[in-house]
């Protein structure tokens, strides 16, 4: 008994004699510590705690290695014993720490279920992930440019894991493969993204997805989309404005261009007729915007309906772009960010 009390840290003494506790016992003690004395009565469903004297007098003594042997240990308790509110609070605190969330999700079913919707909140459809899923013959086809049926294969894999309903933020970076032709074989899966609040698309040839194709591919995004990020979109400025205004609940808008990207933009015909201007009550972020793209943004925020952006973030934009946009949103702007010189991100 005396020996046991002296060896406070058995890991410092190889082969030390230590008591073995089950995980359930440790969790019971932990839960008692968290929930306090009142909850102890509710724990009566578990075997009554052994008297302290017995624990000291008749310890189950084994000679163990410093590391825990998970292969032989008996698990008598799980996270199910903890109130759901505590589990949810733990998950909430870890919401920005993906690695910790993944580690938690492996501990038990309760944590797996609680963390799943947070871990898979953002889904990335990238060409790298898609490439990893292809077989060698498919990769050869891909290289030859015959990409129909394989360019968005990643969507099938995500659907097979049942992750589509959890997505709230969809990031699409398939290079120039995100076209109606390539998406069509997987459109059933794509339509299951019905709760997306944030949509980021790298390279989108917008005219391809307008007219009838918009209703074929994007109707599920219309009710819930709050934030749209377009990186190097291509097409007519009129089409780009038209595309943006088809999401009636948009609050945040991001345009990211590489200098000179808009040189191929054309401006043809009058501005689109907009039935309902998005509210635009959030953040306007403009990266690398030149004069031509800046004019399009000005056209956008001068469309019928008032622009309510509360925050404007200019990153490496031409000077001529900034002042007119600030003026257009001046009544509601609370925060302005800008860069000086060639600030590199």
């Amino acid at each position: 008994m005396g020996k046991l009390r002296r060896f406070k840290d058995p890991q410092q003494i190889p082969g030390a004699l230590v008591e073995s506790y089950s995980i359930g016992h440790i969790l019971r003690r932990w839960r008692s510590a968290i929930l306090g004395g009142e909850e102890k009565k509710k724990v009566s469903q578990f075997p009554p705690p052994e008297p302290t004297d017995k624990l000291i007098e008749e310890p189950q003594i084994t000679n163990v290695e410093p590391s825990l042997d998970l292969g032989t240990i008996t698990i008598t308790e799980t996270w199910k014993g903890l109130p759901q509110e505590i589990v949810d609070h733990i998950v909430f605190m870890l919401r920005n720490d993906l690695e910790s969330l993944k580690a938690c999700s492996l501990t038990c079913k309760a944590m797996f279920i609680s963390t799943r919707h947070v871990i898979h909140r953002k889904i990335c459809l990238t060409w790298e992930k898609n490439w990893d899923l292809l077989t060698i013959p498919e990769k050869q086809r891909y290289i030859r440019g015959e990409r129909q049926g394989i360019a968005v294969r990643v969507l099938s894999a995500i659907a097979a894991h049942g992750l589509l309903p959890y997505a709230r933020h969809l990031y699409i970076h398939l290079n120039r493969n995100f076209t109606p032709v390539n998406l069509q074989p997987f459109n059933d899966h794509f339509q299951r993204f019905d709760r997306i609040q944030e949509l980021s698309i790298y390279w989108l040839h917008i005219p391809d997805f307008l007219s009838g194709n918009f209703d074929a591919y994007f109707p599920n995004f219309v009710p819930t989309l709050r934030s749209l990020h377009l990186e190097t979109p291509t097409g007519d400025t009129r089409d780009i404005l038209d595309f943006i205004c088809r999401f009636p609940n948009l609050d945040d808008l991001t345009f990211k261009m590489v200098s000179g990207d808009s040189r191929d933009w054309r401006t043809s015909g009058p501005l689109p007729v907009v039935n309902k201007m998005p509210p635009f009550r959030g953040r306007l972020k403009l990266c690398g915007i030149d004069e031509r793209c800046g004019r399009m943004i000005q056209q956008l925020i001068s469309l019928p309906g008032k622009c309510h952006f509360r925050s404007v973030d200019f990153r490496s934009c031409r000077f001529e772009v900034e002042q007119p946009i600030v003026d257009a949103c001046s009544s509601t702007l609370e925060s302005i960010s800008t860069t000086w010189g060639r600030f590199c991100e």
């Binding site: 960010s337 800008t338 991100e345």
Partner: protein, 145 residues
């Protein structure tokens, strides 16, 4: 007027600058953020002063300076003028704002090797705000990058 040593390196960046802005109509402006590379930190003070003079918003209470790129690790504080230029002029403006309605300057760096030196430089160039404990230093990733 003290010109920073970094001026020559910034010449070609001039045509991309976003300042000064006329903010007289932004009546609800609360915060203004400027992102600048460390080597250009002494450069925008005139344009900043010009911009701040146009602000009429009564809720304007925060200036955030996000400093990017590499910061020299062993730059003694007494050399701060080389990098910071005439920020003391801005310091007086910040102090006036702080006296009127409460104001703070947030200096945010993503990563740097010699932060005590950099922070002491900042306090050296903004002595009035430093005395009023109106400077907040932050190290970490820039938000919403």
């Amino acid at each position: 007027m003290i010109r920073p040593l970094a001026q020559s390196r910034s010449e070609e960046a001039v045509d991309e600058k976003g300042l000064p802005l006329d903010l007289k109509d932004t009546t609800n402006l609360r915060s203004f953020t400027l992102r600048v590379d460390f080597e250009d930190i002494g450069y925008p003070y005139e344009a900043l002063a010009e911009t701040f003079q146009t602000i009429t918003s009564f809720s304007f209470s925060e200036f955030v300076l996000e400093v990017g790129r590499v910061i020299p690790a062993r730059e003694p504080a007494h050399c701060a003028w080389k990098w910071w230029g005439a920020w003391t002029e801005l310091d007086k403006m910040f102090e006036r704002l702080d006296t009127k309605r409460g104001f703070r300057v947030v200096i945010r760096v993503e990563k740097l090797d010699g932060e005590p030196y950099f922070f002491s430089q900042a306090e050296d160039r903004l002595p009035l705000m430093a005395a009023r404990k109106g400077i907040v230093f932050e190290i970490g990733p820039f938000p919403e990058k």
